[in-house]
Amino acid sequence: MLEYIISKYNFWVYVILLLIGLYAMVGKKNLVKKLIGMNIFQSAVILFYVSIGVKKGGATVPIFLGNAHAAHGHGHAIIDVASYINPLPHVLMLTAIVVSIATTGVALAVLILIFRRYKTLELDEIMKIRKETGV
């Protein structure tokens, strides 16, 4: 059992982080906390993808470290697939990280709009104000 848990511990960590993030997004009342939860949630997904790309058995970072000019042209013969990590998940996650920061930026801008209107960032207080003013 313990071995089973350890053998996939990255997956467990990502599950835990994803749940923490999801809990903060749904259960917390403070809007900034929701955004913090959102960041954790997205980075959990990113961690999952990066874990997909890992390759055991002497694989290194996906950068060809030899002499590029010598290898160019007859690269097929030289490059051994087993010695490099799968680059595709990394590419996808570069995109996802940038998307997450873009979402965070827009969300923070919305947050400032909300603060301007209600002068608070607690969801329950906002709901109270909305109920009182009828908006």
């Binding site: 950068i63 570069l94 930026g105 923070l108 801008a109 301007r116």
Partner: protein, 163 residues
């Protein structure tokens, strides 16, 4: 306990250490960011990382020397144009490929105007798009920061009136 006073992040800092060090650091940050963009082919890095570091150098300038000085280096209008320009470089290279007879974003077609073999044409195409990405990311990061930290009033006079 709520803290009523909001902190103005973009006023000139009065700490001589922070100011001097950031003054010395900013050119090196910028050159490092450009290095990251240009050497994305050989080492980790590329347009996004370099662009973000460039944007961070502008943000550092805004935090330490105040917003007005930062805007003197990069005005709002220039900033918006750079946002557009960055994405336009990317999409424009793609369109150029169509005009040269390839598919969209097929940098291999660029060899007709660059006079190198296809592999190197692709390499140069990647460099071109990374430059575009870097410019766009830099401008956008700086602009988002300025908007959020000033609440959308980057000019000092009106900000003082409204606060």
């Amino acid at each position: 306990m709520t803290i009523k006073r909001t902190v103005n992040m973009t006023k000139q800092s009065d700490d001589v250490i922070v100011k001097t060090l950031s003054r010395l650091l900013i050119p090196f940050m910028q050159i490092y960011a450009l290095y990251v963009i240009a050497h994305g082919h050989y080492s980790p890095g590329g347009g996004f990382q370099g662009g973000v570091i460039l944007g961070a150098s502008l943000i550092l300038l805004a935090i330490t020397y105040g917003l007005d000085n930062a805007l003197r280096m990069m005005s709002e209008r220039l900033n918006t144009i750079l946002c557009s320009l960055g994405v336009f470089i990317y999409a424009g290279i793609g369109l150029l490929c169509i005009m040269l007879g390839g598919n969209y974003l097929d940098y291999g077609a660029l060899d007709k105007i660059l006079h190198v073999d296809i592999a190197h044409a692709r390499s140069l195409g990647i460099l071109g798009i990374e430059t575009g990405v870097g410019i766009a990311v830099m401008a956008v990061m700086a602009s988002i920061f300025l908007d959020i930290s000033t609440g959308g009033l980057p000019s000092t006079k009106e900000r003082d009136q409204s606060d």
